[in-house]
């Protein structure tokens, strides 16, 4: 019995792709070594962010943002999404210049979702920021969602569309055949499929190597923290900085989710992550500098998860140039969540041999060889 598409990885990318394929009449099996949403997809900061994207990702982010508004229809859940304007703060004139330049660049490319705002507007949006803030760059349509709820909604929808999700099932061997792929799993069973999708997140480096198309994806453990309830502090506006690392997301219950690039040491083999309190301390310091009123707030807990990262920080999305019928969708480097709906769409398009709605040239799997850069 041959399946049309075998997808390895039941995170949000794998499920998003599966849904689109299933709705286009394809048979799909997802192999998930744990449970859908177990890693980065279900345990990120929940930021649904178009702001601050690498230029190469913007067209995808803008389109994806539109799709987030229709989740009730597409995945039967609003995924806990709500709008929280994202304000990137300039803490000096030099930083302000960076933001002005950014808006100009974006406008030049036809995008208007990031708007320079003056000090007055900053304080209107976020009345409690520190006095030294000089201005900002706002994206009024950004928001937040519940990553676990979202991941589950995607997985459940995939199943409803006839996708078979095999949880607790690891792919231990992949063979290419004349007509596609033969996959052997940890349950001892074998499956045959015409196409294979690599959506294995933090494991994409290893898995791609096993497939004969090694990708320079390495595992990272982005770490988030959350405060207790601090009502009135954020005024519904989420914050980012320009010159240093910090993301503060304003949850609706008054807690503040802290992210923005903190990483914890990990051991992928043992599947262990150790939260480093030094990082928490660094974040706390910056938080108080940016929002002095947070002095009284507490850090209640942290969480972290395995994520696949790439040095040039944009994902790998596209058809393998080494193995026919193999497609990659990985390496989202801690900012894939918002892109998922659109990524699922374009992946289904290229898998079906169609031209993707938006060009994927910047995300080519073989872009690293072109540069002949040694990967670490």
């Amino acid at each position: 019995m041959k399946t049309d598409v075998l997808i390895v990885g039941g995170g949000i990318m794998g499920c998003a792709t599966a849904i689109e394929l299933a709705r286009k009449g394809k048979s799909v099996i997802i192999f998930e070594k744990d449970i859908p949403g177990r890693h980065a997809s279900g345990n990120n900061s929940g930021g649904v962010r178009a702001q601050g994207r690498d230029i190469r990702e913007i067209s995808f982010a803008v389109e994806s943002r539109r799709m987030w508004d229709h989740h009730i229809k597409t995945v039967g859940s609003d995924c806990g999404f709500f709008v929280s304007p994202r304000l990137r703060l300039a803490e000096s004139d030099a930083e302000m210049e960076v933001l002005v330049k950014r808006q100009k660049t974006l406008n030049g490319l036809g995008y208007d979702h990031e708007v320079v705002v003056d000090r007055d507007e900053v304080f209107r949006m976020s009345p409690n920021v520190a006095e030294h803030v000089v201005g900002g760059l706002a994206c009024y349509t950004d928001g937040l969602a519940n990553p676990m709820l979202t991941s589950k909604a995607y997985a459940t929808t995939a199943q409803r569309e006839g996708v078979e999700i095999l949880s607790g099932t690891r792919v231990i061997e992949v063979k290419t055949t004349a007509s596609g792929f033969k996959v052997r799993t940890s349950s001892g069973k074998e499956y045959e499929g015409e196409m294979l999708v690599n959506g294995t997140g933090a494991w994409a480096g290893r898995f791609s190597e096993m497939l004969g198309d090694p990708l320079p994806v390495f595992a990272t453990a982005p770490t988030m923290m959350v405060t207790d309830r601090v009502p009135g502090m954020m005024n519904g506006t989420s914050l980012g900085l320009t010159g240093r690392l910090l993301g503060l997301m304003a949850a609706q219950n008054g807690t503040i989710v802290v992210g923005g690039g903190y990483r914890s040491p990990l051991d992928l083999e043992k599947e262990k992550i150790w939260v480093d309190p030094m990082e928490m301390a660094k974040a706390a310091k910056i938080m108080i500098e940016v929002l002095p009123g947070l002095r009284d707030a507490q850090m209640v807990r942290c969480w972290t998860a395995f994520e696949g990262s790439i040095k040039d920080k944009v994902p790998i999305v596209g058809e393998s140039q080494k193995v026919s019928g193999l497609f990659h969708v990985c390496g989202f480097s801690a900012h894939g969540f918002q892109l998922a709906p659109m990524m699922g769409r374009v992946m289904s398009q290229i898998i079906l041999g169609q031209k993707p709605e938006l060009p994927l040239d910047d995300f080519r799997p073989d872009r690293f060889e072109k540069n002949e850069k040694p990967h670490t």
């Binding site: 676990m148 939260v275 309190p277 301390a281 108080i288 009284d296 507490q298 850090m299 209640v300 807990r301």
Partner: protein
């Protein structure tokens, strides 16, 4: 206070006191951290501050701790009270908060003696001011001498019920009634453990005497004792005003402002889970216990567990376990030869074995009953976030059976208590609705800090260099 020690002990109850003392007198550099203001843990709480009158009420089981604390106080170790440990790492780092400042210490040996807590069992109205645990009342009395002067009720199952009843009766507290929720049939599975238990006839008789004395005293003071009680409910507008229950077919209702509850004791495993010790599901106790060997070793090479934190066996057992772990560490650190160790550990092991004879019986007799977590949908199970049992059931009906997933979606376990109060209930609800064996249901992941830390404190913290990995 040094930056590095040979051993850091967390918890100054009987296990921590004994362990710290034994290590310190053998020349090791030891720090003992505890979040209370004085040594003794829960059982020997405020032992240096209680009055002679209080000690008379509390009895020998309490005053037994005096010698232990005396030895501890004269031992050459660093004792750090009021220290809240919020993270431990398997490389021996511990991070703690003291006097508004967070710091880091390190030792090649961590001994976690974090003890036990009352099993949190939700029931209707349990969040009302006025509802407390029996252990909590005992703590309050030991700490301050406060005794209820308005009508109160004691309801539950297990030794704490009788212990607190005994103390409060002696203090002439106005107990309206004692409700024993132990199912009558529970004694039968326990009977097969009697042969082992009667090796400690003295202990068994002590228990029998305690319960008999309470009955006698209660009768003298016209305090009714009801057996086989079910459906305890706390009611009131903004605080406890009355309690209803059922004893057999009889409906009961009492106007009281204090309800003391107890449904057994469980290890307090927050730190143990955060640091990453392996745990195993115990189907009789219905709880995930850490894997601990005879000398206190865990699945992590530098982390030991001693005392009730490993398994609840009482204060004396905790003390002996603390000693044994200390002897083992002293041997590993070459302060004790193998011969010395073999010689010194024998009497302690013998004492521990004696303590453990009656435990299988006690554990069976007071095992959590089948319907302990039969929770009505409207009952709040997550106190911090106000999540009801019904809400958890909804998610399990939708197909979610992973504790972490459920937590991530409805927030049970995301408040400051980090699931200490709701963890068991959520697990039981998942098992009830899904039919899954609890051993298959993973505990929710506990990440640091295990107690909230203020951002200001974190920002100022001197946490030392980053450890290489």
């Amino acid at each position: 206070m040094k930056k590095n020690y040979d051993a850091i002990i967390i918890g100054a109850g009987p296990a921590g006191l004994a362990c710290g003392t034994e290590l310190a007198v053998r020349g090791l550099e030891v720090a003992v951290l505890d979040e209370q203001a004085g040594p003794g843990g829960q059982i020997y709480r405020n032992i240096t501050g209680t009055s002679p009158a209080q000690r008379k009420i509390l009895g020998a089981d309490y005053t037994d701790g005096l010698d232990l604390v005396d030895s501890f106080n004269s031992a050459p170790l660093d004792y750090l009270p009021q220290s809240r440990v919020w993270q431990a790492a398997e490389n021996g780092d511990i991070f703690f908060s003291r006097n508004g400042a967070s710091q880091k210490l390190n030792a090649p040996n961590l001994v976690l003696c974090t003890g036990a807590m009352e099993r949190p069992v939700p029931f209707p109205g349990w969040t009302l001011p006025g509802v407390m645990t029996c252990g909590g009342m005992s703590n309050l009395y030991k700490d301050s001498g406060l005794v209820p002067k308005e009508p109160l009720l004691i309801a539950g199952s297990g030794p704490f019920v009788w212990l607190v009843a005994e103390h409060l009766l002696a203090l002439d507290a106005p107990i309206t009634a004692i409700l024993d929720t132990t199912p009558l049939a529970q004694v039968f599975p326990a009977m097969k453990e009697v042969p082992g238990a009667v090796k400690r006839l003295d202990f068994m008789m002590k228990g029998v005497r305690l319960i008999a004395d309470v009955h006698l005293s209660a009768r003298k003071k016209n305090v009714p004792i009801y057996r086989n009680v079910k459906e305890v409910q706390a009611q009131g507008q903004k605080k406890l005003e009355r309690v209803s229950a059922r004893a057999g077919s009889k409906q009961l209702s009492f106007e009281v402002s204090t309800l003391l509850v107890s449904e057994g004791i469980i290890p307090n495993t927050s730190l143990l889970r955060q640091v990453g010790c392996a745990h195993t599901w115990n189907p009789v106790q219905r709880f995930w216990h850490p894997d601990v060997c005879a000398e206190g070793q865990t699945s992590l090479s530098s982390v030991y567990i001693a005392g009730d934190g490993g398994f609840v066996h009482g204060a004396k057992s905790a003390e002996y376990k603390g000693r044994i772990t200390a002897l083992h560490i002293a041997k590993e650190m070459r302060r004790l030869s193998k011969a010395e160790y073999d010689e010194q550990v024998v009497p302690v092991r013998t004492q521990l074995d004696r303590e453990l004879f009656p435990r299988p019986f006690i554990d069976r007799l007071y095992a959590p009953r089948k319907d302990l977590f039969s929770l009505a949908n409207e009952t709040i199970i997550c106190r911090c976030e106000g999540i009801t049992a019904g809400r958890v059931r909804e998610l399990v009906y939708d197909g979610l059976t992973d504790h972490n997933e459920i937590k991530a979606i409805i927030r049970c376990g995301m408040g400051p208590c980090q699931g200490r109060m709701c963890g068991s209930a959520v697990l039981e609800l998942i098992s009830e609705v899904s039919g899954l064996d609890p051993a298959k249901i993973r505990q929710h992941r506990l990440r640091p800090p295990i107690k909230p830390v203020s951002l200001q404190e974190l920002a100022n913290a001197k946490l030392g260099e980053l450890d290489e990995n």
